[in-house]
């Protein structure tokens, strides 16, 4: 009998072991390697690296800048995101799904594309302003090359993030709480200020923390807007140091990346502390509150909302398209000058751009595929597993995505600078190191929807297969995977969209021959070839749009909240 018992546990043990190994390799190993570089550079405990980092004035300036744009961007994102969430969720505004789709869209566009689009809108070469003859004279500084420019774009990029979390919170607000206050004599505005917003504190705080981590770790926006103005934040400082110094300065950049990690963590801790001060738990569940009737203000509010969306989405994208059609810098766009040459150039003529499209596509497909395949067993152990410690795996998987991408990139560099022991395989300076970093960073994007998929499935479905005689692997293949597949695949599509124009990680890990779309776009822009960069951006945005439409087909089979742009 004992052999039968051992046999039946075998598959579960094998699965747990495999999942643990994958997560250790992808999450814990790079983080430990990074910490080792700080506390024990060269293998012995010392504070040399930390002291050197702290002595450098550049560190302090970049830290200050990081905090300024981080806090500024967070404030702007929280204000705009919360306002839009309140308007969309609590009032009888019309066209809600379209509004949500358009407002959340910037989240699906890579930050450097957002940056490029806005730059094209306001610069002296702006084809858009030239349409009205309103462009400033050539040589004028673009107003976005500034602290406030960076803060503005960070706010635009991450406002939707705040919106999504606050909206989810508002949806859970029981209507009795609002109605009790109304019955107690409070007007609508008083209810909003004294009941609704206070109860939303945990959502708003969590959203603020997430926005802060995203702002602090953002590379694309400060790279496009800050580097030309010599306004460096920590991620761009790391990039510049590595670009100039190569592997020799890895120790120094390791310190800086840990510093970003610490700042990001501090943001999350601050949110934890603030949220614990009072009891915000909502115990009852019920229908959401009746929407506030805007009455004669409705057209005004609706017009305001659409104006906002035109400003943050349509106008920048329009500017981007115009730029991609202009034959060269500063030339006005007319029916005569409009050309598709930029597209032909990046798609067919420029070698690096060609390679970049190829690399980014297969890297994204591989990362998405890997994440879907791994997320199903990992999600199984986390959602349905019996061992408590397995849930720690969840935290470990979150880490590479929760921390700024620069942290993971530096950790990967440190890990693979030398050939892998025993095998002698060299990942450094190849495309494989980028693939490794993508695997580590994006796994959680497929894991989260998969876990919520598991929570929606009745466990009896698996138990029924078990009593029918199916072992764990058979159940995985024939019952579990088909049931959670829509959620996992939707996660995979999200990964593909995110990875396709990813810049933060690949900017630090690329080498000649392993360029990604983001990297080539960045180098075009740095070299002054905005038209090529714009053409590449338009292509990636178009691909993203099409994929969003495709993903929508899965929507009926998904837990709510998996597709951010679906209301």
């Amino acid at each position: 009998m004992s052999t039968r018992i051992r046999e039946s546990r075998g598959q579960e043990m094998a699965l747990t072991a495999a999942v643990t190994i994958v997560i250790v390799l992808l999450s814990l190993l790079p983080m430990l390697r990074l910490i080792k570089e700080i506390v024990a550079p060269g293998g012995t405990l010392s504070t040399v690296a930390i002291e050197a980092g702290l002595r450098s004035p550049a560190t302090w300036i970049a830290t200050w800048h990081t905090l300024v744009v981080g806090i500024g961007g967070t404030l702007l994102a929280v204000l705009s995101g919360t306002l839009v969430a309140v308007l969309v969720s609590l009032t009888d505004i019309r066209g809600r799904s379209a509004l949500v789709l358009c407002y959340v869209m910037p989240l699906m566009i890579a930050p450097q594309v957002t940056a490029l689009a806005w730059l094209q809108l306001f610069g002296p070469a702006s084809p858009f302003l030239k349409l009205f003859g309103a462009a400033p004279p050539l040589g004028t500084k673009n107003p976005l090359y500034s602290t406030s420019g960076i803060i503005l774009l960070l706010g635009v990029q991450y406002g939707p993030l705040v919106f999504l979390l606050v909206r989810a919170g508002l949806r859970k607000l029981p209507r009795e709480l609002v109605e009790a206050a109304r019955a107690g004599g409070a007007g609508r505005f008083t209810v909003l200020v004294t009941i609704v917003l206070p109860l939303m504190t945990p959502s708003i705080m969590a959203a603020a923390a997430l926005a802060f981590v995203s702002c602090v770790g953002n590379f694309g926006i400060p790279a496009f807007l800050g580097i030309p103005a010599n306004y460096l934040v920590l991620p761009t400082l790391i990039y510049q140091k590595l670009a100039g110094g190569g592997p020799a300065v890895l120790g120094e950049t390791a310190f800086l990346s840990v510093l970003i990690g610490v700042i990001a963590m501090a943001g999350i801790l601050a949110q934890e502390l603030m949220s614990r001060r009072r009891d915000y738990r909502i115990s009852s569940t019920s229908l959401p509150a009746e929407p506030y009737e805007l009455g004669r203000w409705r057209p005004v509010v609706q017009a305001g909302m659409w104006l906002l969306i035109v400003l943050v989405l349509f106008l920048p994208l329009f500017g981007l398209v115009l730029t991609s059609l202009v034959p060269g810098y500063g030339i006005a766009l007319t029916a005569k000058t409009a050309t598709l040459d930029n597209y032909r150039f990046v798609l067919f003529e420029h070698d690096a751009a060609n390679r970049a499209f190829f690399n980014s596509f297969w890297l994204s497909i591989a990362a998405a595929f890997f994440a879907v395949v791994v997320a199903v067993p990992v999600g199984y152990l986390i959602a349905w597993g019996r061992q408590r410690w397995v849930r720690l795996l969840n935290l470990a998987v979150e880490l590479p995505y929760a921390l700024p991408g620069v942290v993971l990139a530096i950790a990967s560099l440190l890990l693979f600078l030398r050939p892998i022991p025993l095998t002698g395989i060299q990942l450094y300076n190849t495309v494989w190191i980028i693939l490794y970093a993508y695997f580590a960073r994006f796994l959680v994007l497929a894991l989260r929807p998969t876990i919520s998929g598991y929570h929606q499935i009745d466990r009896a479905l698996e138990e029924a297969a078990q009593v029918a005689g199916a072992g764990l692997f058979t159940r995985m293949r024939t019952i579990i995977f088909p049931l959670v597949a829509p959620a996992a695949i939707a996660g995979g599509l999200l990964i593909f969209m995110t990875a396709l124009s990813e810049l933060t990680v690949s900017a630090l890990l690329w080498s000649s021959g392993s360029e990604t779309i983001g990297v080539v776009m960045f180098s075009f822009e740095q070299g002054g070839d905005s038209n090529y960069a714009a053409a590449m951006s338009v292509i990636t945005v178009a691909v993203t749009f099409v994929l969003m439409l495709v993903t929508n087909l899965l929507a009926p089979y998904l837990p709510s909240g998996v597709l951010p742009w679906r209301d």
Partner: protein, 358 residues
């Protein structure tokens, strides 16, 4: 077909015992119902037998094999038990035929043989021709039958039912009850049937195990449970038995003894060997009570009269026991009114045996 035996089975979760020292023997081909209020441990008992939970102590045998003990546990997929789940647990991504044939596919049975078995199973539950449907396109009763067919097809040694009728409406319940009974008769499978519905358990089972707070309060035939409850819990749980304090006046003689309850003397049934004692309890059913305006009996107050069509349920407080409430039915014409005085007679009862009170 196989015997199931539970031998001093205990299952403890963090700080409470869900199942405490339970010993049950289910004979080959027997239909056993496990009955109890919610939270009594009956579902945990089923999950222990199926192998989804591991025993803390004790042992479970199916046939002659020990499948669960404190040493280890045979995995559910190796136990050859069938389960009909409360919510059916049909796989939504498979057709009805695929659902039913799943265990055959897992066992790598030859395809044509498997197809024939699926057809037979469908015919057995009167679902011929529905094999290509999806579970979503079936009615509640049809889903229940698919679940039944799915568990039959593998010819399990033991079938477990987990409150299979809880999600069906009243009419469907009656017809499914008939089907379960017919199914048991036809296949002769050993069945363990979990339910909180007494009527269901009484109608179907050979024997019923009444559970209370993780223990088996009584394991007996339906008739015995009703007429000879082993303790106060079973007496009051089954058909709302009425418990009355009583003093036993005479020893057992021919299965009866004389007791004094509510100030009157009466003869009740009892176990062999009962001796005179004070502080005993008797159990009587509402059918044992009737109005006797002029004969022997006890007086009291009619508290409430609830007319139920054809008869009224009367709630009555005896003068000798103002804390007690007796209830019984008076058929039309209903003569009692609330607030009126009346005289009742207890025709018969059962003396709760000593020492087995829960």
């Amino acid at each position: 077909m196989a015997r199931l035996s539970l031998d001093h089975v205990t299952k403890s979760f963090a700080n409470f015992d869900a199942v405490k020292d339970v010993s049950i023997d289910v004979a080959d081909g027997e239909f056993l119902a496990v009955l109890g209020p919610s939270g009594c441990g009956k579902t945990t008992l089923l999950r222990l037998v199926a192998g989804f939970e591991k025993v803390t102590s004790g042992a479970i045998r199916i046939g002659s094999d020990v499948v669960s003990s404190s040493v280890g546990s045979v995995a559910p997929e190796k136990r050859r038990v069938g389960i009909v789940f409360q919510n059916y647990a049909l796989w939504p991504h498979m057709t009805v035929a695929e659902n039913i044939g799943y265990s055959l596919k897992v066992a790598k049975l030859d395809k044509t043989v498997a197809r024939q078995k699926v057809e037979d199973a469908l015919a057995l539950v009167n679902l011929q021709g529905l094999g290509q449907r999806r579970p979503a396109n079936l009615s509640g009763g049809q889903r229940q039958r698919v679940a039944l067919a799915r568990c039959l097809v593998a010819a399990p040694s033991l079938v477990l039912f987990d409150e299979p009728l809880a999600n069906l409406d009243v009419h469907l319940r009656a017809s499914m009850e008939d089907e379960f009974a017919a199914f048991h008769k036809r296949t002769g499978t050993t069945i363990v049937y979990i339910t909180h519905d007494q009527a269901e358990a009484m109608a179907l089972a050979d024997r019923i195990a009444v559970m209370d707070h993780g223990r088996v309060a009584q394991l007996a035939t339906p008739r015995e449970l009703y007429h000879e409850p082993a303790n106060e819990m079973v007496a009051s749980f089954i058909s709302q038995g009425i418990l009355l304090p009583a003093d036993v006046l005479t020893g057992e003689d021919g299965g009866h003894c004389k007791v004094r309850a509510l100030g009157t003397e009466l003869v009740v049934r009892c176990r062999p060997g009962e001796r005179p004692r004070a502080g005993a309890k008797i159990c009587c059913r509402s059918a044992d009570l009737d109005v006797s305006p002029h004969g022997p009996g006890f007086d009291g107050l009619v508290k409430r009269v609830i007319y139920q069509g054809g008869a009224a349920r009367i709630e009555f407080t005896p003068a000798a026991g103002p804390d007690l409430t007796l209830h019984f039915e008076q058929p039309d014409p209903v003569t009692l009114e609330s607030g009126a005085q009346a005289r009742l007679r207890i025709r018969s009862g059962w003396l709760i045996p000593v020492g087995t009170a829960s």
